[in-house]
Amino acid sequence: MIRYILKRVGYMIVTFYVVITLTFLAMKMLPGTPFKFANRLSPEQLNQLKHYYGLDQPIPIQYLHYLWNFIHGNLGGSFQYGMQPVTEFLFQRFPISLQLGFESMIFGTVLGIFLGIVSGIYRGRFLDWGTVTLAVVFISIPSFIFAAILQYFFSVQIRIFPVIGWSGPMTHVLPVVSIGVGVMATIARFMRTEMVEVLNQDYIVTAQAKGLSTNAVIFRHAIRNAMIPIVTVIGPLTSAVVTGSLVIENIFAIPGIGSQFVDAIVTNDYPMIMGTTELYAGLFIVTILIVDVLYGVIDPRIRVSGGKSI
């Protein structure tokens, strides 16, 4: 197990290095200059600025420089925020996005698992049909449309929830639901398939043959086994949550990293784009690692042998 984790961490570092390099190169390939007011600057001033930011050096040198700074936790300064350190912004805003993502994930997962179980148990009946339809619909409606509808309905028409913000619990409801339903739908669908699969397994019959009640069979035997593979979807789902939060944060004016990222893209704030990208990648990579390790922890079959065979 330890060896497996070490190996994974190794890959993780490689992946991360690739991300750093790629983002760096991408930024270098971007057309145009990073200086917003380039049109008002004399060439001399421009050169000075370039020198100041180290942009006049050959790219390999810049690259090494960037790596060096990166290792020392320096991601450079934000162009759009008067060269304030990018890390400061990330530290400030990332926790909010993380919280949003986490809550959405919890909301989606819990509800999704529940729906999936119900649907799997009542396979082919009305409940199943309803859940499946719901899941497909929620997977198919882009989260921003859903968010806009929710906001209009619950904040403007009924006025239960505030329009914007990220302060009290009430402010969390709409954004979390907007992102969470997608997660919920995906998980529900997956869970249903797993549930159906598991319910057809021999050990379920064994459990029934022991005379256990239906509830005991489902709760003690079916659900746990059905839930193990769910862990594997959580990795890719993080991606979905991140994508979702990117727009949802704008709609609900949540000061998270997502809205920051969109800003950075629109304003060509390269250091910020790079920093955010790396953060996302890091988060994603770590999530996948955790998920994989977790998978081993939950599934006793993998626990000892270490690593899953794909």
């Binding site: 082919g124 397994q201 021999d202 050990y203 019959v205 064994t206 459990a207 029934q208 043959a209 022991k210 005379g211 256990l212 009640s213 239906t214 005991a216 003690r220 035997h221 746990r224 086994n225 193990i228 939950i298 599934d299 006793p300 079959r301 000892v304």
Partner: protein, 339 residues
């Protein structure tokens, strides 16, 4: 009636894809206390379905018990509610499945899987249940049971898993143990271990066993009575010796003669040509007729009735009708000849 279990005219139907599979078509069986009844027959002949029907585990949908009674100590299990049935399962009647690799929950400790039934049926405390689980593991011959109760199924070999499955089935001292191909997935040497174990356990506990298999060797080893199934029907029943040495049904003949003899020289095996019937569209007459070398016109038209050949043996075949031409069993079944 003092049968422990009596099945009367059981019919089980599966509704799939616009077709109705008549998996079991009017089966009647009796099982007495402490005896071992083997059910043998072709794959798909309804052996497992019959046993599942007894356990009340026919998946519904798509399956249903269309008609029939399953009398356990005189009470009809077919009429039992879910709750009532749960009290019977595992406590009065328990079951072992063919594949030990999949019959255990991979994410639950062995001990817990054994304890579940104990806690449910005997209201033991967790602690006592665990103690009993260790005893049971010891009983089925698992070394070092104190340690192994806390392991997971994947840490056990196939033979050991099958032992665990047996331990689970025996946990509450059931009156009937249904073993559905308990050794098919195992190697011969392990199979021998398991068969030994089952025989020992039966001697100790006096449990009646329904043994389902298609390995006549296993039958000869373990059973006292045999029921031969074909096409959803029982075509012949009798004591072990009656079936092996004096079989009356051509399918039984075929079955016995298609097995090579380890201790005798056989030039050529007697194959049964053709393939088993499609149970979604079963033949009108004798299900074996299309493959029967002695088939007569009547066989394809009418289902033969049982002919009582002895107090214990009966068979359903038109050849036993006095109007039928006399047919001798093939010599290849002459195991009785004693080489």
């Amino acid at each position: 009636m003092n049968h422990l279990l009596e099945i009367k005219d059981l019919n089980v139907i599966f509704h799939i894809f616009g077709a109705d599979v008549q998996a079991v078509r009017g089966i009647s069986l009796q099982l007495n206390k402490g005896e071992t009844l083997a059910i043998v027959g072709e794959s798909g002949s309804g052996k497992s379905v019959t046993s599942k029907a007894v356990m009340g585990l026919i998946p519904n949908p798509p399956g249903e018990i269309a008609t029939g009674e399953i009398l356990f100590e005189g009470r009809d299990l077919v009429k039992y509610s879910k709750k009532q049935m749960q009290k019977v399962r595992g406590k009065e009647i328990s079951m072992i499945f063919q594949d030990p690799m999949t019959a255990l929950n991979p994410t639950m400790k062995i001990g817990k899987q054994i304890m579940e039934g104990l806690i449910k049926h005997q209201s033991l405390s967790k602690h006592d249940a665990k103690k009993r689980a260790i005893e049971l593991l010891q009983l089925v011959g698992i070394p070092n049971p104190e340690k192994r109760v806390d392991e997971y199924p994947h840490q056990f070999s196939g033979g050991m898993r099958q032992r665990v499955v047996i331990a689970i089935a025996l946990a509450c001292n059931p009156k009937i143990l249904i073993a559905d191909e308990p050794t098919t997935a195992l190697d011969v040497t392990i199979q021998a271990q398991i068969l030994d174990l089952m025989r020992d356990l039966q001697e100790k506990t006096g449990t009646a066993i329904i043994l389902i298999t298609h390995d006549l060797g296993v039958v000869a080893n373990l059973a006292q009575r045999v029921a031969v199934m074909y096409g959803g029907k029982i075509v012949e029943t009798g004591t072990l010796d009656e079936i092996f040495y004096n079989p009356k049904h051509p399918y039984t003949w075929g079955l016995l003669s298609s097995m090579p003899k380890l201790h005798a020289k056989t030039d050529k095996l007697l194959a049964i040509p053709g393939t088993p019937p499609d149970l979604s569209n079963p033949p009108k007459g004798c299900p074996f007729a299309p493959r029967c070398p002695h088939a007569m016109k009547v066989c394809t038209e009418h289902m033969p009735a049982y002919t009582e050949l002895s107090a214990t043996q009966k068979a359903a075949c038109w050849l036993l009708d006095e109007r039928a031409p006399k047919v001798d069993p093939p010599t290849t079944i002459g195991v009785g000849g004693e080489s």
